[in-house]
Symmetry: C3
């Protein structure tokens, strides 16, 4: 198990696992072979809403075939079908999880479960995973779990569900604003969907309190047309995901390789953030070496929450550098990334 | 019991049950005989803050007399006196409930209880209703309950109180911003009251999670004066209730027949919302008939939360059409309302 | 024990208890001798982040020496070191509390504990205080407790921690946005820190529901430079603390005597608020005297929440007048403050 805070999920990119094209695995294949800043930290082969009803079986087959044979640099997290409210969907989700655990337990990092209800529904999913791990001789807890927060019940139970974090396979909570708004009966009266800012605050808090990853929702206005010319909506998506980073969410949902580029950038420490973190932790290490046992800058103690934040910044960069060296060497100049590679991050962590 | 989501409460209009006029029942009578879009879904004969201290007994008498003899098309929900903090008010509230259950159990739909405290206060009210139903030989649960959310304690206990929803007579939670702001010590320093947007998000979520109706608070700036001419403040009220609809609240508080017209309009599906809902559910029904068992539009599955939302839209229109045909035939053209009347809404609901 | 709502904490001013100057107690001495509107309601000798690591022992000594000998008009609340996450800090905090209870139990009003975690951490602090009170023969509950809300865990447990209010020594909850934002991983991408408005709403609600004092976080942009000239940032701080007053928080954090002046002003009822409160309560008292038993203005009953609010306004002014007569006589004209001094505030409180 990677230490929670250094687990990367700047970009959570869903890819339909089967589409009505000559190559039904076109988007999945494209995601698995993406490179550079287009490579998402988490690729999510989607069996649920992204895949047409008649193509669910083929979606699972595509995933089994391609994922078994990939050298993808990030994590792989298939999204299965599920619904707290419909047993037929749960049955299909269970079958899909069965196939994934049987065929791909070593290749995938976890499964993403949508439309989760309250705590009892969470425990139902958890029990299914345990049972299937046991049946197929996979070590308990091998397959992690991410949930989509998109029902009123899950929101009501957010604290309890997130609170299971440290003791369970739960790794991430992802906001699903479309279904959430539909379930609450929210209406677009010309200003789009509600921003649900109270929910996002709580999501950031509960994931942070429990060492989980918190991820924002999708942004589907991919293109904008201005005076007759359409273009990729770079501003719209960037604004949304900067808001998410501002609130402390760890990553953003991507529906397109360009969104993935942006999410990877926004949720990556800036060079000046990295420089600040390195110089502070270097000073903390020096303080330990000198035996002063505390870090002061200009006579003021740097408190532990701030140091922890700096360590997280450096560990995030180290994780990016380990998985995607082409990203880190593009973003940071050589002396900076060298300091990040060689620093003793934990040296001052008592 | 009507299925929760189709129970109409677009407009929650309070009317003082006794006022210092020749006809002390003037406003109550006016509410009970309102027609067209001026007829509120819920008329609330008010014994509490709308009625002067010296006229409480007359208010109850007016309600008993007029309500027993009305052909009002909506629901009738008297608001009694109550306070978690003052036993004298609870005693008066209990007496008022006693009279209502004894005299009007068949005519009223429920009672509205203000200034509720925490869960134990909710249970106190619930127990009083059960006891009085039993005493007067009224079937248990005949008289429903709506509460005003206007104390810090009720906000703290919102999740637990709303969580009783499906098992109790609780039907609606209504926001009371004036008392709420007073209790928290919120101050108007020139920008009016706080918008309490976090509370409104939670109210929408908890009512949705438990099948309850959520209703926004009153707007008392009824008139605005511009360059010496006063006029009904149509913009101000519309902005507030559109915000409430945006967040998924089901209805709004009205203090005046013009506000009722606006609340009935805003919380009524627009023709294009109805058209969309009908065409989607018609397609879902066709999919069931064809045996495909899932609804796809352009190859993309329509998920259950969205279908549920469409069904709610149609059921809301059906409820309006049943109670207020003059409203539905005014708002929708004939072919559209005919489709809404004849569709098999539940056909595709597994 | 003063009745919770009349306990003053318009201004919570931290002062480093030791600084690297010839007089290491310079700021603490300055706070303890402040007068007029510069005198904070709560002076907080700071052993934590305001004091350099090498000066902690001297900070405690300075506090013991100066506080034992002061005639400061407000309350004194030292902030000790603490952290739910680091036992070394808790050990130091315990030693600091030990010294405070042993040496200053009669002089201080309570201790401020930062970086508190969940409920179990709160109970750890509470137990330490009880044990030390017992050890040094100080009556149980003599030393009150204020906590800084600045960790994800404390936010998660806010309702439970605040809920202990009436049964424990807990008196105030103070927001700590810097550490809170760091712990959640919130980032400043050019717009500063998140405003955490959902948290502030909850803080106002939970403190109100439990008779506690709620206090906003520090504002450290003390000076602004405009066209080459620096000046005290009176607008920036005033905007923040007016927002806090708007939401019903009782006081604001001050880092500087000028901020204290502003916090004392903003959280002090305005003359027109006081006039309104006095005239309403005078009328309520008259109604009781006349035996009508309820207060109506223009035929409309003034509800209890509003009356309670008016009583709080008057009691706040009475508390200010008792502690800081130079403030009340400056802010209110003689006839007004005389009415506030002589009114029977509780006369109409049943």
């Amino acid at each position: 198990m990677i230490e929670p805070r250094t687990r990367l999920c700047r970009s959570f990119q869903t890819a339909p696992a089967a589409v009505a094209k000559a190559d039904t695995a076109k988007y999945l294949r494209s995601g698995l072979t993406s490179e550079g800043f287009e490579a998402p930290d988490w690729l999510v082969p989607d069996f649920e809403d992204g895949t047409a009803p008649g193509m669910k079986a083929e979606a699972v087959e595509n995933a089994v075939e391609l994922v078994a044979d990939t050298s993808f640099s990030g994590e792989i997290w298939p999204r299965v079908e599920w619904s707290y409210a419909r047993s037929a969907l749960r049955d299909r989700g269970r079958d899909q999880i069965d196939t994934l655990v049987r065929e791909l337990a070593d290749e995938i990092d976890g499964v993403v479960v949508p439309k989760l209800g309250g705590l009892e529904d969470f425990e139902r999913v958890d029990a299914i995973l345990s049972e299937l791990e046991s049946r197929y001789g996979v070590p308990e807890g091998s397959v992690d779990l991410a949930i989509i927060l998109e029902t009123a019940r899950a929101r009501t139970s957010l604290r309890e569900i997130a609170g299971r974090g440290s003791d369970t396979r739960l790794s991430a909570i992802v906001f699903g604003p479309v279904d959430y708004t539909a379930e609450l009966g929210g209406r677009d009266l010309g200003d789009g969907r509600p921003s649900w800012s109270g929910l996002l605050e709580s999501l950031s808090n509960e994931t942070s309190a429990n060492g989980l990853i918190g991820i924002g929702g999708p942004f589907d206005e991919l293109y904008v047309t201005r005076a007759g010319v359409g273009a990729y909506n770079a501003d719209g998506y960037a604004s949304q995901i900067e808001r998410e980073a501002h609130l402390g969410l760890d990553g953003s949902w991507s529906l397109h390789p360009k969104q993935t580029i942006q999410a990877n950038h926004v949720h990556m420490p800036t060079p000046s953030e990295l420089e600040m973190a390195l110089s502070r932790i270097e000073r903390a290490n020096a303080a330990i070496a000198e035996g002063t046992g505390a870090v002061a800058i200009d006579g003021r103690m740097i408190d532990e929450a701030t140091l922890k934040n700096y360590r997280n910044t450096i560990r995030t960069v180290q994780s990016i550098d380990a998985r995607h060296p082409e990203q880190s060497t593009t973003r940071y100049d050589d002396p900076l990334i060298d300091r990040a590679r060689t620093i003793d991050v934990d040296g001052s962590d008592g």
